[in-house]
């Protein structure tokens, strides 16, 4: 049996789990291609106009897979931390796709709660039933999948650069090089090192988040906020770059919270959508890097007012 696995959203963070789980069950995993123009066009064609870029791309990935597999995996990722969500659109993603895309094969849409081993296990049991009836096999596959996932680490931490920036945003924007147009590579070529939220300890994020009046109830909002504010306070970086998809509801909140708490630290928001031109993006990055260089190397932190 062929299981289709669209390369969008949290694929970049959790693919070892899903890949190994279905492989162990004897299914063949077919992933879609890396995001490209064709996938984007397909996605824009089918998806509801108001949605954000990653949602549109995910539609495109599913569209490109639909005649290549028997079952398609549309993960309904509800929670990955206790009492926190990702985004309402994640919870309703399977419905969005199944009601707009024609001819989608049978889909696995079991809710995925990664808050505890037992919750995760119940996901595995339900999703595994689509492939095999053997509970023992599912249990074995689940163990391997968890083991592989735990070995897997994401995150970027460049070293030996004189200027460093914190790259903040949702993981699916940071790790999909089509969405961010190879931002990390571009920054590295300009002599700027990049660090992401995975490089600092979870407790440090917690410490920052605790200071807020209201506990953020979105996992990535919590991570982004905690990381950005922590790296500003501890002078881990010279500037912060936030990649945000146009019309992202979560970013509209979190960008404001970050702005309020990082004082005068350089902060650039890169908005991406299906129309973003690469030349404009390059110009903004270069200008930002120029500014950082002057701050760090030339002015040597003296006030520009003399």
């Amino acid at each position: 049996m062929k299981v289709g696995f669209p390369k969008g959203f949290l694929y970049f963070k959790y693919y070892p789990f899903f890949k190994n789980f279905f492989n162990e069950l004897g299914a063949e995993i077919i992933t879609s291609e890396d995001t490209n123009k064709k996938i984007l066009d397909e996605g824009v064609k089918y998806c509801v106009d108001e949605a954000c870029l990653p949602i549109k791309l995910f539609h495109g990935h599913v569209a490109s897979l639909r005649d290549k597999c028997d079952v398609i995996l549309i993960p309904r990722i509800m929670q990955i931390r206790k009492r926190e969500y990702i985004c309402p659109k994640f919870c309703g993603l399977p419905e969005m796709i199944l009601n707009t895309l024609p001819d989608v094969p049978r889909a696995i849409t079991t809710p995925f709660y990664a808050v505890s081993a037992s919750k995760l296990y119940s996901f595995a049991m339900e999703a595994g039933q689509e492939i095999t009836n053997s509970k023992a096999a599912i249990k074995r596959a689940f163990r391997t999948a968890i083991f592989e996932q735990n070995k897997f680490k994401t995150g970027i931490k460049n070293e030996n650069y004189s200027i460093n920036v914190a790259l903040v945003g949702h993981p699916y924007n940071l790790y999909d090089n089509f969405i961010n147009m190879n931002l990390v590579k571009k920054l590295n070529n300009l002599g700027v090192g990049v660090i992401t939220e995975e490089s600092i300890n979870d407790e440090l994020i917690d410490n920052e988040v605790k200071k807020l009046y209201k506990r953020p109830f979105w996992t990535f909002a919590r991570n982004s906020y905690g990381f950005a504010v922590h790296s500003h306070k501890n002078k881990l970086v010279d500037g912060i770059i936030y990649i945000s998809s146009f019309a992202c509801g979560i970013d509209s909140v979190i960008v404001e919270l970050i702005k309020d708490n990082i004082g005068e630290s350089p902060f650039m928001i890169l908005k991406v959508d299906e129309h973003t031109g690469e030349a404009g993006l390059d110009t903004r990055i270069e200008a930002f890097v120029d500014m950082l260089e002057r701050r760090v190397l030339i002015e040597n932190n003296t006030s520009s007012l003399g």
């Binding site: 009492r83 309402p88 919870c91 419905e95 979560i250 909140v253 919270l257």
Partner: protein
């Protein structure tokens, strides 16, 4: 302490009854208008949704009248509304206003003790006994229920009325007179008499008006200013409308959530299309569309603010509902840039379409 609260449809009447009953000082911000929206969108972040901007306008206009405390409900669902309190606090602080926020959040998240503390802040400013305070609260809920009933009845009967504009006139004078009452019991008495009045409006039972269900995001459908008074417009066209989401529905629903017995009919309606609670009122929106079809409505209009996350999901699902049931549904997106002329044209065209579907055999081709 001078309390205020943002506008949401007719909630200001219930709030007035509550604060009058508690004998505390309060300010009802001026009714929503272009100036509150302009103030709000001037200070608010660009990408935030429309309710946030209107609410900021309300606060600033209330501050001008001396308000220093805001009561706001919170939520911890995945919708942005839950983060409003934090952002609005920061924003007003940056503008130099010292406004105290009392956020009534779910006890599951902040703890029952903290919730009690927050409510105590309000009740301590009242010099009445606990019994009288609880009575004031019940009176306020009664006011809310009455005005919601009058409004729902007026919207529905507008299609049947014999004298054109009668429903609208009664509804508007009910709101106006209620605002002039300074005593909760007097307000309840007044609203009860208006309820009788609206029920005894002369109707023509022989006509069968176009019936439209109003569904979508709770703030934009309840607050008439944010949807450019769509219900009033439809009343003028002689269309009967029905909206399930009302402030009193919200109170009942929120109270029943722990028992899972809340809005069973809506859940049943949505089951086929969206079986999970995804935050906001997306499931309610889909469920209401199905229920409106089952109740024999001619169509439904979905309204939501630009960028509303849960409603984008329901907007993606509604075309399928529409196709399966052969039931027209129109989605309207509102924000501070919405132009009235284009908006009205769409509503008129939709009503025309519904009329023609009914009388013209072409629709079955």
């Amino acid at each position: 302490m001078k309390i205020t609260l943002p506008h949401l449809g007719n909630v200001y009447l219930a709030a007035k009854a509550l604060f009058d009953g508690l004998n505390v000082d309060y300010v009802i911000p001026p009714l929503n208008s272009n100036s509150s929206l302009e103030i709000g969108s001037f200070y608010s972040p660009e990408e935030i949704c429309l309710p946030f901007k209107i609410m900021i306008g309300n606060y600033i206009q209330a501050i001008e009248q001396g308000a220093d405390t805001v009561i706001l409900t919170g939520s911890c669902g995945p919708c942005r509304f839950g983060e409003y309190c934090e952002m609005q606090m920061n924003l007003l602080k940056k503008l130099g206003h010292e406004l105290q926020f009392i956020v009534i959040d779910s006890p599951g998240d902040i703890g029952i003790k903290e919730l009690y503390n927050r409510i105590n802040k309000i009740s301590l400013s009242s010099n009445l006994t606990k019994y009288e305070q609880i009575k004031a609260l019940f009176n306020a809920v009664k006011v809310m229920k009455l005005i919601d009933e009058i409004e729902a009845r007026a919207h529905y009967l507008a299609g049947y009325e014999k004298i054109k504009g009668e429903c609208k006139r009664v509804l508007n004078s009910a709101k106006r007179d209620a605002l002039n009452c300074n005593n909760p019991t007097a307000m309840i008495k007044l609203l009860t008499s208006y309820k009788n009045k609206i029920n005894s409006i002369e109707v023509n039972t022989n006509i069968n008006p176009i019936k439209i269900a109003i569904i979508g995001e709770i703030y934009t459908i309840i607050e008439p200013f944010s949807n450019l008074y769509i219900e009033e417009k439809l009343m003028e066209y002689g269309v009967s409308t029905k909206r399930r989401l009302t402030p009193s529905w919200w109170v009942k629903n929120t109270a029943l959530v722990p028992t899972k017995l809340n809005s069973l009919d809506i859940k049943r309606g949505a089951k086929e299309y969206l079986s999970h609670q995804i935050g906001g009122h997306a499931r309610e929106c889909v469920g209401e569309a199905v229920l409106a079809y089952e109740e024999g409505f001619d169509g439904a209009i979905q309204i939501f603010p630009m960028g509303c996350m849960p409603e984008i999901v329901s907007k993606a699902i509604l075309p399928q509902v529409s196709k399966d049931k052969n039931f027209p549904i129109m989605s309207l997106v509102v924000d501070e840039m919405t132009g009235e002329a284009g908006y009205v044209t769409r509503i008129e065209a939709f009503v025309d379409l519904l009329e023609r579907r009914r009388y013209n055999a072409l629709s079955r081709c």
